[in-house]
């Protein structure tokens, strides 16, 4: 036990004296969560648009008023003819132009059908899509209010209710995603690098010649990272909760247990990588391309798995991060208990055992 404490103390010296490690451990999680939370977002705010109102009646004025009162859009310019549309887009001043047809109010009253054209700048397809959705929603909303006042019958109303994330806040998917990426990075990459560093420096040989057992060396190297990963997970959750108002509906204890399970899973992957590589560079390359990219691209963190081609959907099953994201989203957003996520938990446990047994086997072969 005394040997173990001495070993762990040595590991902490390594970590605290290496600026790069310190940055990855403490700078990165906070920077990432802030970046994802504030900068990268699917929501739109204060988007500049232009209006071409050919009718200029009371109805169009009310609609324009409603749109400009919202926080989503700012009306930058009122156009007078269609020929101006392309010009404003080319200057890049506005993202969309609303065109009200001639005799708008008359069409609405007599034909019960008036047209608004939404022209968007689709050089950024995501924003264009979001803008047209927002405008459509606002127009429908306006019509519903109007119909209610007029007491019109036989009107079909669609009522959409969004469960778990009513405001469609993107931060709700980023917090679990970033937490997964950070835990993977800290646990797998940092441990594999720290173990291969000992190999590269020749100190691993000295440790193996000493009475300390290989398994003690591995546990001693891994232990500080379990500790630091738990701190990281806590920091991310606190930031998510207090800065981004991310709810934690389910049991905090279950969330903690599942996080520790995922940390151990990632650590065992890190040990596996270190048995496969002899230099820090190789370990870093394998971690980055073998782990980070799949975690970001195939775990469902950014791109939904259900819209991937079938082969990728199948591959995504072998990525531990996918299961962890499902688990923490279920706990945090839906308040799910263990009875709902036991299958995903079991998969993670299975993967962890597999990684550990393969590493032990590899490690023995190397010692031979």
């Amino acid at each position: 036990m005394k040997r173990f404490i001495g070993f762990v103390r040595k590991e902490f010296y390594h970590i605290f004296r290496d600026k790069r490690s310190m940055f990855i451990l403490f700078g990165m999680p906070i920077a990432q969560i802030m970046l994802f939370g504030f900068a990268i977002t699917n929501e739109i705010n204060n988007v500049k648009i232009a209006v071409l109102d050919k009718s200029k009646d009371t109805e169009t004025q009310k609609i324009i008023q409603k749109i400009s009162n919202s926080t989503y859009f700012d009306i930058e310019q009122e156009l007078s003819s269609e020929s101006q549309i392309e010009a404003v887009f080319k200057r890049g001043k506005v993202k969309a132009v609303l065109v009200f047809e001639n005799d708008f109010i008359k069409q609405l009253q007599t034909e019960k059908n008036a047209k608004v054209q939404v022209i968007t700048d689709a050089t950024d397809p995501n924003i264009a899509n979001t803008i047209s959705n927002y405008v459509t929603a606002m127009l429908q909303n306006y019509m519903q209010d109007k119909n209610k006042i007029n007491n019109q019958k036989h009107q079909i109303e669609t009522q959409t209710q969004l469960f778990y994330n009513p405001e469609l806040k993107s931060v709700f998917t980023f917090v679990p995603g970033v937490m997964t990426v950070i835990l993977m990075l800290v646990s797998a990459m940092m441990t594999s690098i720290s173990i291969t560093r000992e190999k590269e420096m020749g100190t691993m040989e000295v440790l193996l010649v000493s009475p300390i057992k290989p398994i003690q060396v591995i546990i001693g190297k891994v232990f500080p990272y379990i500790f630091l990963s738990i701190i990281n997970a806590a920091v991310i959750l606190l930031l998510g909760y207090f800065v981004f108002k991310m709810p934690i509906e389910g049991s905090l204890f279950l969330l903690a247990v599942e996080s520790v399970l995922f940390i151990i899973c990632a650590l065992s992957l890190g040990i596996l990588i270190s048995t496969l590589s002899n230099s820090q560079q190789t370990a870093m390359m394998i971690s980055l391309f073998g782990l980070m990219l799949p975690v970001i691209l195939l775990s469902g963190f950014i791109f939904p798995i259900s819209s991937m081609p079938l082969p990728l959907q199948i591959i995504s099953n072998i990525i531990p991060a996918k299961w962890f994201i499902i688990i923490i989203k279920a706990i945090m957003l839906k308040g799910a208990g263990f009875s709902i996520i036991w299958k995903e938990t079991l998969i993670l446990v299975g993967m962890t055992l597999l990684f550990i047994s393969v590493s032990i086997k590899k490690y023995k072969i190397r010692l031979e």
Partner: protein
């Protein structure tokens, strides 16, 4: 004449075998790296273990220090079988690898504390040892500096002292003086001599043939086999040459 014979017999009686190697063999797949070597090392001697790169000396040494299992044959180190008692063997030996084997990002004192700790020394022992060691090496001024900032020669000496921290019966040195300047090498060998006089057995591999001259006995390995084993003086006589360098070249050439 009678007295002389008596003296010789006493010396032989004193020659306690600390390493006994018998038909030690290591095979990797189809390749046999070490082909049934047999030799003894006596207590307190400086034993030079020589051989060209790829001759199998590193593999043989790994078996003796208990990090590689022999395919067949037997090796007894400090009275313990390396195949079955490697844990106990490790308690009784010190090791210094050719790669510099301390932690650069730890201070001199922290390195001593760490290695003392993994060899199971008590806190009090570590404290005493580190004061004594730093004094002997005249490193009082740098005891709290990071090892990475020290000159290579100092690191080598520190590394050797750290390998001796738990007072092992045998120290294995794997090309300890690689890349060190001649003066430091000379000083390093003085440390080795001092330690051998205290009764510690030194098992050393080296590429420098002048260093082979400093050893009590030298073995030369070629292609997994020990081709020669004797005192440097006897080897030079046997091959009718003036230096160990020529002995080595002659052996290597004969094989080719």
């Amino acid at each position: 004449m009678v007295f002389e014979t008596l003296q010789v017999s006493i010396i032989i009686m004193n020659k306690e075998k600390i390493i006994q190697v018998e038909k030690l063999t290591k095979t990797f797949g189809n390749f046999t790296a070490v082909k049934g070597i047999t030799f003894d090392v006596y207590k307190g001697e400086i034993f030079g273990f020589l051989g060209a790169n790829g001759a199998g000396k590193t593999t043989a040494m790994k078996m003796l220090i208990g990090i590689s299992n022999p395919t067949s044959g037997k090796a007894i180190v400090a009275g313990l079988d390396v195949a079955t008692q490697s844990d106990l063997v490790k308690m009784n030996i010190g090791y210094m690898s050719q790669k510099f084997s301390l932690y650069d990002d730890l201070t001199v004192n922290e390195n001593i504390t760490f290695f003392g700790g993994i060899y199971g020394l008590s806190r009090k022992q570590i404290k005493e040892k580190s004061i004594q060691l730093v004094e002997e090496l005249e490193m009082q001024n740098v005891a709290n500096n990071l090892v990475g900032a020290l000159p290579l020669g100092w690191k080598q000496k520190l590394s050797f002292s750290v390998a001796l921290l738990h007072e092992p019966k045998i120290v294995f040195l794997d090309e300890p003086t690689g890349g060190v300047d001649p003066i430091t090498r000379r000083q390093f060998w003085e440390m080795i001599y001092t330690q051998a006089h205290k009764g510690t057995t030194i098992f050393v591999t080296t590429h420098y043939m002048d260093e082979a001259e400093y050893c009590d006995r030298v073995s030369i390995m070629v292609d997994g086999v020990i081709e020669a084993l004797d005192t440097p003086k006897n080897l030079k006589q046997q091959f009718k040459v003036n230096s160990m360098n020529d002995v080595f070249l002659k052996l290597a050439r004969n094989i080719e």
